[in-house]
Amino acid sequence: MANTKVIVGLGSCGIAAGAGKVYDELLRIREADNLDFELKKTSCIGMCFKEPLVEIIDDTGSYLYGEVDIKKADEILEKHIQNFSPIKEYIVKSDKYESVYKNYFDGQVKITLRNCGNINPESIDDYEESGGYEAIKKIGNERISANEIIKTILDSGLRGRGGGGFPTGLKWKFANNNRSKDKYIICNADEGDPGAFMDRSVLEGDPHSELEGMIIGAYSIGATEGVIYCRAEYPLAIKRLNIAIIQARERGYLGKDILGIEGFDFDLYIKEGAGAFVCGEETALIASVEGERGMPRKRPPFPAVSGLWRKPTNINNVETFANIPWIIVNGALAYAKYGTEKSKGTKVFALTGKIKNGGLVEVPMGITIKDIIYKLGGGIIGDKKFKAVQLGGPSGGCIPEYLSHTIVDYDSVNATGAIMGSGGMVVMDETTCMVDMARFFLEFTCKESCGKCTYCRVGTKRMLEILTRITQGEGKDGDIEKLEELAYQIKDGSLCGLGQTAPNPVLTTIKYFRDEYEAHIRDKKCPSVYCKKLLTYEIIEEKCTGCMVCKRGCPTKAITGEKKVPHIIHQELCIQCGDCYSKCKFDSIKVF
């Protein structure tokens, strides 16, 4: 009993699901009943669909409890801690019992997320105990040169995890080649892709690995100053990073002559982003750090030559940096063992949408999309028909069901017209309208376009107008062709990644779901029964009880009928507001 640890997952989603209250309750009972166990905090355990999560580790094994509320917490303390009998029906993972979620964990290889959910992110001791800062100690002790590190990273095959997929080692080499006294290293933590939250989880769950990755990067390219550009929408990540930076300074991992290596001075600070998707783009991010509007600049010169304050600058994504310490400690070969020929290692995906087991999964490159969705993700909610998966957010595209055997690596995903992106994987079922999905992404990119390039600024607006028209039943012949024409012009006429990729969601949905576009335009019907203006509402005579609720609520008086007699909707008056459908208690309104 003395060795019993109770660990609560306090990441942003855990807290949102009520983990903070559970933690307080556990603390309260421990004090009130004078129980003897160690209460610890950790961050995202990755099983977001079962939050809040509480793990109990005692002499007999480890037990992870899911969907714990205050009531369950009391019960778990009473039965498990006081009477040593674990409550099997609440357990989602344990080394003692076979769990139904076994596949969710077995399919994963945790490198980036190695510490997430295992350590207290606010404790540098926890990080060091689990092998943290070993990589820079190794560099210091064995006097590994910058060139050797760059070679290791090149050999590992690590490619930029922010979406671009540019080899990290090569990027470092370019920055290293530049002989300038002042160089900068920037961590891009401006995770703006709607539907992606892996960077947030790493920063919240393992901030020290981020710092360690950056310190190694700084050593390799000769940078003296680092910046973490983090979105202001992630207050918890910023808080934990700040704690980590202070701790790292105290231990001498940041500052002057780090690790006794003479002349290796490095320190870093956090820059809070102010909310602009375009700042995920390297040159726009640099402009934003300099305090300007986040508008991209022309390349070349590339940031490796002239970046922040016109000095050589290296920018990597959060996930990329988190991999670095592991590669240094375990070697390039250990990393390159995972993955495919051209895409090595693992990738973290944020699995969301209409999926049963939504959460953060880290899988080796080369696994098929189908395996991620069905083996790890447990399939579609309500066992509906799987329609498509959206990869890469607003810059990416939809991969249809019949291509779900596609393996995840940069080149295979690119071949479908989607992109790997930062790792958002939004699963859609038969009720998701693909035209509306394209409209949704265009609305996003149109709003987020910085306005510098005409094609991106005006072109996305025109595309959005056409798509909105189509979803409202005012599509015309030739609209699809016009969309395609605009799409290629925007791709060619834009300076940065935002504009060059903005048409992707439209192009891929046209490619794979052209029939849905045609149904909207020609038949004025939405096959997924989603676009409101294209729906027809009808009363099922046998089911209608004549309660008059729909009749009273109808804003255009399109429903007629006497009390206790089935009502009728007059189609010529109906404005498809859906009020009757949501108000009917007897499911007697049919939509098609």
Binding site: F197, A274, E292, V426, M428
Partner: protein, 194 residues
């Protein structure tokens, strides 16, 4: 594109330039002095200064912009350009609670649109507007990063997940109830004091 224009209202440039706020003004310019001291002359200071200003007032008042310009030499046009570019900055006052409705992909797929509509109907305001009692401001945001709890909204630092229209309205009702209670207790306090 991101454009938000300042409401054309009357202001006296003189006040802003001297740094003395009139008694009826809600903007106390003294409050930003420590902030300016911290960032004055540092490169890349514009965004942190604006973020700090917004933390103090809840939005960036025009008077504050003019004052910062005088104190630091940053051009008002630059400040306005940056403030209108980033989604975080507001040029108008907001309600006591800001309801951030997530309109990320995962929330969109889980039909956050219907939830937002219910909330808009309940509050009687549209996106970006504030209720007449200055309690709630409704804002749609890109992604809050709690996708597995979609649809999600954030009020203050609290995140509310797995919403339906009814659940979202219930959360707001609870806030309203608490607000009325605290106002009542304040009222009774004042009465007993007098």
């Amino acid at each position: 594109m991101r454009i938000e224009r300042i409401n054309k209202k009357e202001y006296t440039q003189e006040k802003a330039l001297t740094g003395i706020s009139s008694p009826e003004s809600i903007v106390d310019l003294k409050l930003i002095k420590p902030l300016l001291k911290k960032y004055k002359g540092k490169k890349g200071n514009l965004i942190p200064v604006l973020q700090g200003t917004q933390n103090i007032y809840g939005f960036i008042p025009e008077e504050a912009m003019l004052f910062i310009a005088r104190e630091t030499g940053i051009q008002v046009s630059d400040m306005y350009g940056v403030a209108t570019f980033y989604a975080q900055f507001r040029l108008k006052p907001v309600g006591k609670y800001i309801i951030k409705m997530c309109h990320g992909t995962a929330c969109h797929v889980q039909n956050v649109k219907a939830v937002t509509e219910d909330l808009q109907n309940f509050l009687g305001i549209k996106d970006g507007e504030t209720t007449p009692d200055n309690i709630f401001t409704l804002e749609t945001v890109a992604c809050l990063g709690c996708c597995s709890l979609a649809p999600v909204m954030m009020i203050g630092d609290d995140t509310h997940g797995k919403l339906s229209g009814k659940k979202a309205v219930d959360v707001i009702k609870e806030f309203r109830r608490k607000e009325t209670l605290s106002q009542k207790s304040k009222l009774t306090e004042n009465i007993s004091k007098n």
